[in-house]
Symmetry: C2
Subunit: 409 residues, 2 copies
């Protein structure tokens, strides 16, 4: 069986305790009943023209949605977000697919972090048939020296900037609470990445998915803010975001924060002309949830829950990981990235663990377009509640001890 298909099989097995999935579980979704009851009533009972919520809507997204979102993000980011620079999406997956298919597409180049989000690099490579170039990373983010060199090597001689196509390639990064690695880019690295993107005429798609799931005082600065520092701002960074982690993935709702020259291409596309807003009714519900303050309250609640789980996971791993296994405690997001001894094949570990201990997790090879990180494991705190998570972690550590006999045993 194809290794990716095998991982999907373990992911879909309902009899396994899920340390793989990166999405909210029953505990952090239980407030949705109240939120959506109130938000629906607000949309259906207080709109002046009721049928507006059910029509085709503006390509860029409903004005009320963008206004409420701009306000919410300005507070959360502690940085100005303009509603004119926001566009509705049907979630971050759709946002990335939309950007990549409209601007780049078959045979164009996508530079990605190695490791990166597993379904993103395969989507760019297999679904959209782009040329995916992995770029090494360290604890401060993507290696900008290597990236600079790779950009010079890959730029087509024939490329010239036009209004319709200001970029010849994209760089896909998760600079805040990285998936899978958990780290945040250093401010220096952010500045350097933006500088390089400008110099080489490439678009950076920054997936700012986990930014509001922070465990410190506030959200680390998104990459786009570094781009905006420049007074000759043209815009080389798009921030691709979603309500999936902070509200409900089933809603399939997100947004892009993007410069005018990118928004223009997206709004003028025929796919936008045809369907209008990419998820209109859902955006009306989210707008109501923000207007009523329910979204703000919810994100505070789940942040605390996730923080407690993250502490539990890191404390347990600290105590129980066998020698030679290491990790760094993340300051936000859903994932702990565990490095196991070089000789360990995490896919084999998954097979054994699923069978004997009834848990799943993400083996590192999935995250690597270069086929590396075979001895890494991504563990997620997002789905299981505290008690189930503790049980899953015990099982994981037991499995590791089985699989990697230590000298003392």
């Amino acid at each position: 069986m194809d290794p990716i298909a095998e991982v999907k099989m373990y992911e879909d097995s309902s009899d396994l305790l899920p340390l793989l999935v990166g999405g909210p579980g029953p505990d952090t979704l239980q407030n949705c009943k109240e939120i959506f009851t109130k938000a629906t009533a607000s949309v259906l009972e207080t709109e002046t023209d009721l049928t507006q919520a059910f029509r085709y809507a503006d390509e860029q997204g409903d004005q009320e949605y963008r206004d409420q979102l701009a306000k919410f993000l300005t507070t959360e980011y502690n940085d100005t977000v303009k509603s004119s620079e926001l566009m509705v999406t049907a979630g971050a997956t759709q946002g990335l697919y939309f950007l990549a298919s409209l601007f780049f597409n078959k045979h164009k180049v996508a530079f990605v972090e190695d490791p990166t989000y597993y379904a993103a690099h395969t989507m760019l490579q297999c679904d959209l048939q782009m040329k995916v170039v992995p770029v090494p990373t360290d604890a401060n983010g993507i290696d900008t020296n290597v990236l600079d060199k790779l950009l010079s090597e890959n730029r087509p001689k024939s490329f010239t900037v036009t209004l319709e196509q200001p970029f010849w390639a994209m760089i896909y990064v998760i600079s805040v609470f990285n998936n899978p690695a958990g780290w945040c880019y250093s401010p220096e690295r952010c500045g350097e990445l933006v500088r390089i993107a400008r110099q080489h005429d490439v678009l950076v798609v920054a997936e700012d998915i986990y930014n509001l799931v922070y465990y410190g005082e506030s959200s680390p600065k998104r990459l786009l803010a570094y781009d905006k520092l420049d007074h000759d701002y043209m815009g080389n960074v798009v921030s691709n975001c979603t309500f999936s982690k902070i509200l409900a993935p089933g809603l399939r709702l997100g947004w892009l924060e993007a410069p005018e020259r990118v928004l223009r291409v997206l709004k003028n596309s025929s796919v936008s002309w045809s369907g209008g807003s990419l998820n209109h009714y859902a955006s009306k519900l989210a707008a109501a949830a923000m207007k009523l303050g329910l979204q703000q309250k919810h994100v505070q609640t789940v942040r605390q829950i996730y923080k407690n789980r993250m502490m539990l996971m890191c404390e347990t791993l600290q105590k129980s990981l066998p020698p030679g296994a290491t990790f760094t405690q993340p300051q936000g997001g859903f994932f702990v990235w565990v490095k196991l001894p070089e000789a360990v094949d995490a896919l084999q570990l998954l097979r054994m663990t699923a069978k004997k201990y009834k848990i799943n997790f993400l083996p590192g090879f999935c995250t690597s377009p270069s086929g590396g990180f075979k001895n890494y494991v991504r563990l997620s705190i997002s789905f299981c509640n505290q008690a189930t998570l503790a049980q899953g972690l015990d099982a994981f550590c037991s499995a590791l001890r089985d699989f990697i006999p230590t000298d003392t045993e």
Copy 2:
């Protein structure tokens, strides 16, 4: 100004009476308040596990949604529809974009009717950079003799059928209540189209958008049913459908009915892996609306309303069109396709009409990938209520009399 951009400008002008837009207006959306109030209550109060509606969901779509939809369609089509052959989409635009981008993409060939849906041929050509080949049509549908010849000429020598790519090209058609032309394919033409598609290893994407908006006794047979007649059925036809015309476009919800070999590719894509169901919460609401019988009742109601409007439009045109202008009364759908005298440029007519008579409509050139149909106009019954529509039609006929002086004047 680019002529397409100019048409969009007239489409977006809120001070024009809209005979352009092909979507429900306030009158046929007013029941949505009741429908969505009840459907939301049903989802939020009666689901056994409430959080299911808010999670990431199965790539193919929620089981309840597909089961309810299969039942609804089996009744409406008077033909068996299996829930295993349905897949959720975020509307027909997204369905087409998804199919075209995953199976074909840049430089691959899309054969389209001439005329066809305006935003579809530009989406395939401009957004996805496919090679769009127009195929002539007559009152029985696409010209299958010409199509057969064009397929033979365009097939790449190197193409061989594989599991991942069973098709080298797509044919995009609207065989029932065509947009813009209003006609239905004859049964012979449907059979011939399916035979040719099989013989040439191409996929037919049949947009079955208006099938349930019929004004006769029942819905004309969808193209997929002709494909299924064959006992060596492999599947060369996908039926791409939406709730936009029969419920609410703002919901951004639709479905594909497709053969297993097509569904497999869609479900196994990374974009599906990443986001799961393309519009999950909306699909739960629609499932509830079908379960409660609200969708069934609604489609009957709006069918009668649209039928009355269509009769009004055709009677008015019959009486008031100047000599040399002709049309055929459609048996379903939203559009009347009016042929004006050869010398008339419908874009110029639109400019004058918008300015002097404050209405808009679709000039035929938008629908034609070959740049033809300049003297055609598409009028829509979908948005305006009976009284406004009557007013708009009077204005349109007055404008025509201004623009095309008859001999007797």
